[in-house]
Symmetry: D2
């Protein structure tokens, strides 16, 4: 992560200036505010603002005049009930705003989640910084041989060296030419909106991203999953820690019912019932395809 001294001092200034509010306040989030949580080699996540806490979820579910219940245990029970029964609207009553610095190819995956608000740094208007994501050696993975959309072991030896050299050299050369093309010293200077097209997808961009808790949890379910690409998963994992500190009851329910849970098809449920009656169920007599059966075994065997 690279923060300039000016950026760090702006962050420090914001962390120094508390005021009094009557709004719901989450102590765990006050600790996070503004501070940059490092992700990848130059990226970060910063919590810029938040709205609501665990009690705000139950308060909305009850359309109540005051806070949530007096008894904290009731709040937790209700939150678990809401999560278990897919009542999503009370979770939409909490909101978070982040400042994220991330490689462009990660940003392109991230933006597919449409129910969020985004303001991205404009490369039409401004000049991008010379910062590129270069994978650490242990994350320089080979194409998976079993999954077209996955990765296998880390590359090694000379192949790894060559890949890293290509990534670094091509990025540096592309940026050198970017700078040279937009320069107005002794020439007209290419428009920024055109020059940016020379930059590769591992360059870093940044944006403000604002989302409600329901949609954030949906994002985390997909992107903190083991099948997500490593480079977005580390952002999702860092966010999981933030959410845990923000709304601990909701996060615990999310872990139990979403991240740690699994959806079984009608066929898979029927197999479980047969197994519990002592019947020997195999892929052949399960009615499932090989792919489904393998996934089912993964769930059943833990």
């Amino acid at each position: 992560m690279t923060l300039t001294p000016e950026q760090q001092s702006e962050i420090d200034a914001q962390r120094a200036s508390g005021t009094t509010t009557l709004r719901a306040t989450a102590p765990g989030m006050e600790q996070h505010l503004y501070t940059a949580i490092p992700v990848l080699d130059h990226g970060f996540i910063r919590v810029i603002d938040y709205m609501g806490d665990d009690a705000a979820i139950t308060q909305a579910a009850r359309v109540s005049y005051g806070k949530g219940t007096k008894a904290v245990s009731n709040d937790e029970g209700l939150i678990r009930y809401l999560m278990r029964h897919w009542h999503s609207t009370p979770f939409e009553m909490c909101e978070i705003k982040l400042h994220v610095k991330l490689p462009v190819f990660v940003a392109r995956q991230w933006i597919r989640h449409r129910t969020a608000n985004v303001n991205e740094y404009s490369a039409r208007y401004s000049i991008l910084d010379r910062e590129f994501y270069i994978p650490a050696p242990e994350h320089l993975a080979a194409q998976s041989v079993v999954n077209n959309q996955g990765r296998g072991e880390a590359l090694s030896g000379e192949e790894a060296d060559r890949v890293l050299r290509y990534l670094r050299d091509d990025a540096m050369r592309a940026y050198d030419h970017y700078e040279e093309m937009i320069s107005d010293v002794g020439q007209q200077g290419l428009a920024r909106e055109l020059a940016r097209m020379n930059l590769p997808a591992n360059i870093y961009t940044q944006w403000y991203w604002k989302v409600d808790l329901h949609n954030l949890l949906h994002f985390l379910r997909l992107r903190a999953d083991a099948h997500a690409q490593y480079e977005i998963r580390v952002y999702a994992e860092a966010l999981c820690e933030v959410v845990r500190d923000w709304v601990p009851f909701a996060y615990k329910a999310f872990e139990d019912y979403r991240m740690g849970g699994a959806t079984l098809s009608s066929g898979a449920l029927e197999c479980v019932r047969r197994m519990l009656k002592g019947e020997e169920v195999t892929q052949e007599n399960s009615g499932m395809s090989k792919g489904e059966w393998r996934e089912f075994m993964g769930v059943i065997e833990g």
Copy 2:
């Protein structure tokens, strides 16, 4: 407006309990928090939470590390520029959460604005209160004779009396029967989810409604407009005052460029240009239909 002593004391308790926060705080909104602003005969708007202030808009537009600019004048200039050029995403970075009590027929118009989060009081689960909107005599308006979707003068005399009597008596009788049908004293008691169907559309409901500033301003442009139905317009007008206290620069820009502005068609602009050159332009030589010309005259003559 009807708040029970318990409700009022819950509100008082929330207004008494300030804590320290590092988040952006809008002093004008802290004054509003939790307090019920009366609307119509039994309705209200209460601000439950908010995120951001004027500086948060420019901060997001710049994707900056610190607050908005030091110079307040710069923030205002940028906000006006963003509003004028329809840059909507920075305004989406502020959020507000309201508790609203409103008649069902108003709720049905309100909910058409889909880009918002809603939790409504459940009449499947709970029992509705005996509270109905009965128009004040000056708002008991006749059907407009020029506009199929509008209203004219207030009714008067015996007709007004009869209408008010119908509205009151039918509401009371419907509620008496609702109570009688759901009662489980000496009978099974009809399911609440069915009994509610007997209640007329002027009964009050309530909900938590959360929306970002961009979509709220869009709502206000349509619903605080002179052509909106009076009963939703008063909610929109009350909300306008809240927004003015929350983000004064953004609200001023909204007044200038949206509420007080007008969109002219290519044909209307051509007429303005001809008029400014001294030409006499009439409906006949304007190329506009009578309806368009009447609207155009309304804009040009102010």
Copy 3:
């Protein structure tokens, strides 16, 4: 259901006028087009238009130049894979447009599904018809004694008679007064936008509703569920038949993985694993609450 002869002849005219198109066409849907499928006592669903078929789902998933695969079995396999792994965007590539006539209290539940397009008949502009939903005796249910949000046995005897009488008489009286208030014979006539407030929630309204297949399936999962209120469930069930005729592969996958499937929490999965190893698991040693355990037993026992 009540269609006037004029309405029926408009429908007949539309069914008589085929044209040639190069677009994807679903034979099962051509059969449904325009025809009113009756729901409840006066309601209906009519398919007005549709876009796409099963092949359009795989075509979009592959971003292909031509149709889906030649081999139909491949299309089905891919659709099942997409459904199983929650790849929602290919299902968004099909769209349906419906004309629905439904009681207002059902419309109020329905509209909570926000990711859809709606045009509702305007009671500000037009006069509503004298049509009210009156439950059939077998659906006149008592409040559930175990579930605050459900219903139990049907009412019987004198109680049922009285409830039906209240519902019918109150509706008729409210409508009589509605008509009398808006009449301009010998009086000014109350504005329609006000008079409608006297009408109860079992009056029928109608709308055009357009939605993509992914969001439609989400709607059906929640509203064709056994816990949904009967009066919206019958609409969902009628729609299920339509979808089955439209995209048979997608509907079959939906039945297997959504409607007939179940999501198990991490704790529930752990219990299944212990059971399969022969351990006796009870609510007490399961780590689940009584409510969760009851739901878990319902899933495991089928």
Copy 4:
């Protein structure tokens, strides 16, 4: 534009296979279906499907049982009224599905329009083609000296040559390395999801994009505007022609009230009124900033 013979023959096959439908059919769109409309050097737009026509807009606005009105003139008048008064929901009742091939930096602007459905070619799963956008000499523009977010004159001479050489050579080298890195000949082969990060933003991607007419017109208003970047504007302009052929009344109203119209602020309207009374209004006595006044003059002088 580069279509392989296989792609072209798939397109030809689809254009050859008409079937009968009872749905609304737009003759102008049947002409466009599947055919690739070239945009930029390798890009295109293909209409894959559409729902509705001009009559479908008025049919939804009226919630009618049959088609739109018999008199075409009534349909057009109503469509113009709806457009003029910002009634957006009837326009949402038409839908279009496109296959678009476009450079990544254009795709990144395009995707900001969130109310649409997208399936993009996956560079995690598949290998991208060696196709890059290289601007034609007349579009190789210098940075604007008056507008931070715009472009000025075309580059010339040796500077132009150098820029084109950089763009071409860097793209080719990046792609050579991309191919070399993912190759599994004699090495493990880098994962595709990683190798793609080496590719610059002028590489072409493709997606299926589906949107309703209201949101499409909003997209066109912003992206067919003179201030939009040239490389996205040409896509928007090609789409304008498609929409004109699809819904001619709606497109004409869009041209008159949106593309050719202008929104004047309350201050600007006041200036127009003063001018029409013969007063001499200047920037100094207008109450407008210099920027606003310049824009206002642009509107008034045409």
